[in-house]
Symmetry: C2
Subunit: 451 residues, 2 copies
């Protein structure tokens, strides 16, 4: 989203870079938001980009700009750097951000970098890296703001004054002697209550929390459901170990949606790490194409099988693309509704059979309409009303069946705890090509022999 | 996301409903979060649902539960009610929430309901309804918290005490005599500064803001980029007219992603308003199927055209599904990468030609691999090495071309300011079936005549 005001800033920076006006450039960059500098960097050539980096001496500013870059840009940026240089920059980051960046790099390089990082940072980062990638533990910030339940409001306010480098404080979490989460207080409650009161007197005790091992997608759903700004993360002993703030939740929601969209299209979000490297991108996409390859060879066998057995094959062949595409689309529609509904939490695993039946009903209606349409069009083309009835009925059967495939396959994956998104559009389309062609020719043969 | 603790609560409520234990039910419900009650309601039969509603006498609680329901459930709920009853519930809502619900209902019914609502609410709601559906104006909350620049911190704190019904206050917006937005102060700055200071002395003057007519998707991108908790909305005169909070931003991101996913699969998010009504759902999906219908009839013509002209048609026919499916998948992959990249702001409109060329390069690599694979498999099946070379080359050409279609069509739509998501998978697949078959047969004929 480039606003006109930002566009002006970008042009100013570009001009200064071209002129090599280093001092002015430094001044302008110092005033710009890291997210804006990241955007500018994206729009420059490699050479100009280098000039920008050289104009920023503040390591913590460099760190905050890097955090705004795309993953593929981050990988590229650090690829050209030595482990000790990288460590200097990572030292300036929150440990959760540093851990997220290390997850993008090769294990060997990570080990080298850790050798040069500050000791306490290394400990925090290693602890975070040890949580599975999509868990609450991996995305939480272990650098949170918590106070003992016996603290007074006055003391709490004083501590708050000094807590400048703690990430976005909205809630004060309250812990007991063992560090267990016992309550929460909003900044507003802190302002509205008399200073001599103790936190435990005014805190809300029923704190919505998540455990370190919870899937980050589920964490996002909870934050969304209760409209929270941050959620505390606890370990098995209910000890507060981190917080996840709403800005991270937004990133999670975006990333998970992108992941689902990519899977639907038969690729994965690993693509985004590949930048412009065509061979690596092709490698990410190929598995789905191989599934299609094998599946469509089977479709080919189906065609060859019926080729010798149906007298009217030449005419029937002209409707094959229609039958295959219709089954593919209808099946993808059904699969998408089911998979997205599950992802949004609108469909529960016990609603699955209800969804399958609903989709079959919808499929019958669409199949009926498409079947009638084909029954009317086919005779116009080939001049045989009997043929219209035959291919119309075959269309109805194929479309209806494809809503069943489109919902039954992902539903089965869910039942056995697999990711339903594996049943993405390419897979469902391929399956429906095989079943669709088989249904089409079988129904046609039967009806042609009767009528 | 149903946690074990919530599961217990749901079972308790169900038991009480079954036992008709009205007093206990009232008590339990009073303690539950509206979002949880909404979830419970979803899991009950129509009759039990009625009992729940009857056990809640507090209209504002009813209002907050309704806001947690799915759109299709809200429509269903209000369908059964009279306009005056609906008005009583809407009176309890923030005007932006009330306006959002009225957008779901028929215009006639809306006019009736507005007659029964409180006068000041009606004014606020009508103003909101007047903004286009996806604009910042339509999603903003006009009930914000703003103070004059000459207010002291002490006075501001006092006002804050009384401002209980103002939606989530994180920032204090500061305005001048004409109501123009001139600054912002965080709650934290309020705590950390001496009480006698005036707001204009401590406020940040460079406030990130959006205009009422900005698209809500762009608003979400700005909030996300700068990690804000709320963003002020101003009119053309820079007067503060509302705020959008991060919880609304999360809803926008989810909804826009869902919209994109549905469009990709050849349906729209209007589906979610239809609940279980099969005929209405079928009607939403049919337009895409009709596009497919027409397109695949053309594919059929292509087949018929070549049928009489190629001697080896019977053998070539067996690879038609493979060529069509491969072109469809590869094209959808390319289109998805481009459309999602634009939606995330990772691809700018001036990067389009770069993306097209990148996709063609990827297409050539995938086409080469798939072509070689087919060149090896085809002779095994049909026993003719020459045929392998012919269909392998045709596959290479078809796959490469489909990455061009998959990116060129959405890129062209973007150039002319159309929604690229119209070039959804069904459309791209259909187009690629036509071009793929044409390329396949043409390449085959040419090569068969040469080799």
């Amino acid at each position: 989203m480039i606003t006109p005001a930002l566009r002006v800033k970008i042009e100013t920076v570009k001009k200064l870079v071209r002129k090599n006006a280093r001092t002015s450039l430094e001044k302008v960059l110092a005033k710009l938001h890291p997210a804006d500098i990241a955007l500018i960097i994206k729009n420059l050539s490699d050479l100009d980009r280098k000039k920008i980096w050289e104009s920023i001496s503040d390591k913590s500013k460099i760190a905050s700009i890097i955090l705004e870059l795309e993953d593929s840009q981050i990988i590229e940026f650090f690829d050209a750097m030595q482990p000790n240089e990288i460590a200097l920059i990572l030292n300036e980051m929150e440990s959760d951000d540093a851990a997220n960046i290390l997850r993008l790099l090769d294990q060997d390089k990570v080990n080298e970098i850790l050798k040069y990082m500050k000791k306490d940072e290394v400990e925090a980062v290693e602890e975070l890296l040890h949580y599975p990638e999509d868990s609450a533990g991996a995305v939480m910030n272990p650098n949170f703001f918590a106070l003992h339940e016996d603290t007074t409001i006055k003391e709490a306010t004083k501590v708050l004054h000094k807590a400048e480098d703690v990430e976005m404080v909205f809630y004060l979490y309250v812990v007991d002697d063992e560090g267990r989460l016992v309550g929460v207080i909003s900044l507003r409650q802190l302002i509205l209550n008399p200073p001599e009161k103790k936190l435990k007197e005014i805190m809300t005790k029923d704190v919505i929390r998540v455990t370190v091992d919870m899937d980050r997608e589920d964490v996002a759903k909870i934050v969304e459901k209760y409209d929270l700004l941050a959620i505390p993360v606890v370990d098995e002993q209910n000890r507060l170990v981190g917080i996840i703030t709403v800005d991270d939740i937004i990133d999670i929601i975006r990333e998970e949606a992108t992941e689902d969209i990519y899977k639907m299209a038969g690729t994965t979000d690993d693509e985004v790490l590949m930048g412009n490297k065509s061979i690596k991108i092709a490698r990410v996409r190929l598995p789905w194409l191989l599934i299609t390859f094998v599946g469509e060879l089977i479709s080919g066998f189906v065609i060859t099988f019926f080729q010798g057995r149906v007298h009217e094959f030449a005419i029937l062949a002209s409707f094959m693309p229609l039958i295959m595409a219709m089954g593919g689309n209808v099946g993808s529609q059904s699969a998408t509704i089911l998979i997205r509904g599950m992802a949004l939490g609108k469909i529960d695993s016990k609603d699955l059979s209800k969804v399958i039946f609903k989709e079959i009903r919808v499929g019958m209606i669409m199949g009926l309409i498409m079947g009638i349409l084909l029954a009317l069009v086919a005779p116009i083309w080939h001049g045989d009303p009997k043929l219209g009835i035959v291919v119309g009925c075959a269309m109805f059967a194929a479309v209806t069946f494809s809503t069943f495939t489109g919902t039954f396959v992902p539903a089965t994956l869910i039942r056995f705890n697999f990711d339903p998104a594996v049943a993405s559009s390419p897979f469902i389309s391929t399956l429906n090509d095989i079943t669709g062609l088989t249904i089409y020719f079988t129904v046609s043969i039967v009806l042609l022999s009767i009528l």
